[in-house]
């Protein structure tokens, strides 16, 4: 269970890779990952390593959406089928770019 950050060369895109179970136990680490980022125009959330996600994680994502502002892109990338299903059922495509 961990979060890995990686900025692209331009410094405008931040890749946040989440691994393991994504729930409230990751809240502080997850919040820090986007709050400490400066001048980022696009966040890529790499979900390929997320094995399980619960509704508290959905809340954390919505909080992120609010916090970074609606003009900043947030892309949720490569979610595994079970996790992708949860995002789809909650209609997260309305506020996030879901890329698979």
């Amino acid at each position: 269970m961990s979060i890995t950050l990686e900025k692209d060369a331009s410094g405008k895109q931040l890749n946040i890779a989440i691994e393991g179970v994504f729930d409230f136990k990751l809240m502080q680490e997850f919040r820090k990952s986007y709050n400490t980022a400066e001048d980022v125009e696009c966040f890529i959330l790499d979900f390929s390593g997320v094995e399980y996600m619960d509704s508290s994680a959905l809340g954390m994502l919505l909080n992120m959406r609010k916090s970074v502002g609606s003009e900043t892109r947030i892309v949720i990338k490569d979610a595994q089928p079970a996790v992708g299903k949860i995002l789809a059922m909650s209609r997260f495509d309305k506020k996030f770019e879901i890329e698979s």
Partner: protein, 564 residues
């Protein structure tokens, strides 16, 4: 020292007598033949160590007699020393040509002759010992071959479960002996996906393949039980640590590809990097091993974490044991990872299809190795994405008997490190065709359990979660109240007990709290409208269940879930 037995062959009575007298005096056992014919007969009747042969004899001469004796003795070595006169020096060449081993002058000092006889007797004895040993070795070899055959039969029966009918996986396996130190296993998942194992045991041949037996059994059994990839890795490590001697282990990759052929999950311990190729682009990723090989670490030290990758069209993923890259070429150098990666990258850039670049690679490898056959086992597996063919013999939905499993948790048990939902679900075994439902069941139970705990027993207000800070506060408060929680109970049950709905699971979660306004968390659909941050859990569960109902002031929630 054993007495040496010498046969003297000479047609001259006087010489026979002189020789016998002088040699017997020195402790040599002698018999004499007056002609070549007599010599052949005596040779068959006696165990003779050395023959002293006259050259000039009527009828059969010494050369011919020697030839016949040598032919008769076959693989048994019988030294023949020719006795010549000085004038016959031109005959030396012929002595040796006829198979003679040595020659002496007839007037040789008996002591010197004895030394020569002894030297030849020793050679004869050594040759006899070598033959005896080699007979023993070939007998052992035959025995071993029989045993190998039997062991191989056992191995083949075990790996017969391998389902190789998956076009997404192309395998190139090559073994240096009857038994392979490399092991490739492949099994279909009930979900339609495929699970595979590529392992390289230390060494090669029979000792290396012994580990394959427990490994195969655990792999297939684990797969039948629909265990997760991590669980399979854990079980394989555990059995190999227990079974293998300390100096033996197994570098391995365990992988799982889903039915859509999109998601690849990997546990990688100790094999060479996994290479990602993209047609038209080249090498896009080289994935290093993250773990120690199987069979080294104890259960509590073992790291079973896996990584998941989403595969794209046109990608090929190459798995291998070190056999190929560590092959020694005719130039005495190793084939090497760089050469392999260079070749693969070039092929992929040139947009070659799978069918052309793997044979090309193997051809390059064979050319590199030439006749250098002393190599390790080698395996090369290429995986490509895309929907898998349906597994053969898919199971129909089976009839089930009614059952119910229940779990009641006290505050201390709620505080324990054991996840109650995973625990409850681990107690039930659904028929394998239902395994795809486990992730939904996990979500349903976890959400309902969280609500029962957070709103029921801990009386937290979910409206706190509206903001980032509120959410932090909410979970901090949750932790504090949980530590203080003294009374109360949460009960969870799951079962299949309605005769009218034979494939419907019933789930109940109840708590002994004061009750809460379940409408505040229930009306969540559509979830994301109006930045509503709470209530998503119940909405999610509603979306997955056929029916969901709160009762008893929110203390009890019942859900039904259809297995189909």
């Amino acid at each position: 020292m054993k007495t040496i037995k010498v046969m003297i062959v000479d047609d001259v009575l006087f010489i026979r007598h002189v020789m016998i007298a002088s040699l017997e005096h020195l402790g040599v056992d002698c018999i004499a033949a007056e002609s070549g014919k007599a010599a052949l007969e005596l040779f068959q009747q006696h165990e003779i160590d050395v023959i002293l042969m006259d050259v000039m004899m009527p009828d059969l001469d010494g050369f011919e007699t020697t030839r016949l004796i040598k032919a008769q003795s076959g693989e048994r070595h019988v030294p023949v020393i020719f006795m010549t006169a000085l004038s016959e020096s031109d005959a030396i060449q012929r002595c040796l040509e006829s198979g003679g081993d040595d020659f002496v002058n007839k007037d040789i000092d008996p002591i010197v002759l004895l030394a020569r006889i002894r030297a030849h007797a020793r050679t004869k004895e050594l040759t006899r010992q070598i033959h005896q040993k080699s007979d023993e070795i070939s007998r052992l070899y035959d025995e071993l071959s029989n045993e190998y055959q039997m062991a191989r039969h056992v191995m083949e029966s075990i790996t017969a479960e391998n389902d190789m009918q998956v076009p997404n996986l192309i395998t190139h396996l090559k073994s240096m002996s009857v038994f392979n130190g490399d092991l490739f296993l492949c099994a279909r998942r009930a979900s339609g996906g495929v699970c595979f194992f590529l392992g390289d045991f230390t060494g090669h041949g029979l000792p290396a393949s012994i580990g394959a037996m427990p490994a195969s059994q655990v792999f297939f059994e684990s797969n039948r039980q629909q265990s997760s990839l991590s669980e399979t890795a854990k079980r394989l490590n555990s059995v190999l640590t227990r079974c293998l001697p300390d100096y033996m282990f197994c570098a391995a990759i365990i992988g799982e590809l889903d039915a859509e052929g999109q998601y690849l999950k990997i546990w990688h311990g100790g094999l060479p990097d996994i290479v990602w190729l993209k047609e038209g682009e080249g090498i896009t990723r080289e994935l290093e091993s993250r773990h120690m090989p199987l069979g080294i670490l104890e259960d509590n030290e073992f790291d079973a974490s896996t990584r998941t990758f989403r595969l794209k069209t046109g990608e090929h993923i190459v798995f291998q044991t070190d056999g190929l890259i560590e092959s020694i070429g005719t130039n005495g150098e190793m084939y090497g990872y760089e050469r392999l990666v260079g070749l693969l990258g070039r092929s992929a850039r040139e947009r070659q299809t799978l069918t052309s670049y793997v044979p090309g690679l193997l051809e390059d490898w064979q050319q590199f190795c030439g006749d250098n056959l002393e190599q390790d086992d080698m395996s090369l597996i290429v995986l490509s994405p895309g929907p898998l063919n349906p597994p053969e013999g898919r199971v129909e939905l089976p009839d089930l008997l009614p059952w119910k499993t229940e779990l009641k948790l006290s505050p201390d048990e709620i505080r324990s490190d054991i996840d109650p939902v995973n625990f409850l679900l681990s107690q039930i075994t659904l028929p394998t065709c239902y395994s795809g439902h486990l992730s939904y069941l996990t979500t349903i139970l976890k959400e309902l359990y969280s609500n029962a705990l957070e709103h029921g027993l801990l009386e937290l207000d979910s409206s706190m979660k509206h903001s980032e800070d509120g959410m932090m506060e909410y979970y901090a408060e949750r932790e504090q109240r949980l530590q203080r929680l003294a009374d109360g109970e949460i009960a969870m049950s799951i079962g299949l007990y309605s005769p009218d709905a034979p494939h419907t699971l019933h789930i109940t979660v109840s708590n002994t709290g004061e009750g809460f306004d379940y409408t505040s968390i229930k009306d969540g659909e559509p979830v994301i409208e109006g930045d509503e941050l709470h209530g998503r859990g119940v909405a999610l569960v509603q979306g997955m269940c056929k029916h969901l109902e709160y009762s008893d002031k929110g203390r009890t929630v019942e859900a039904s879930y259809v297995l189909s």
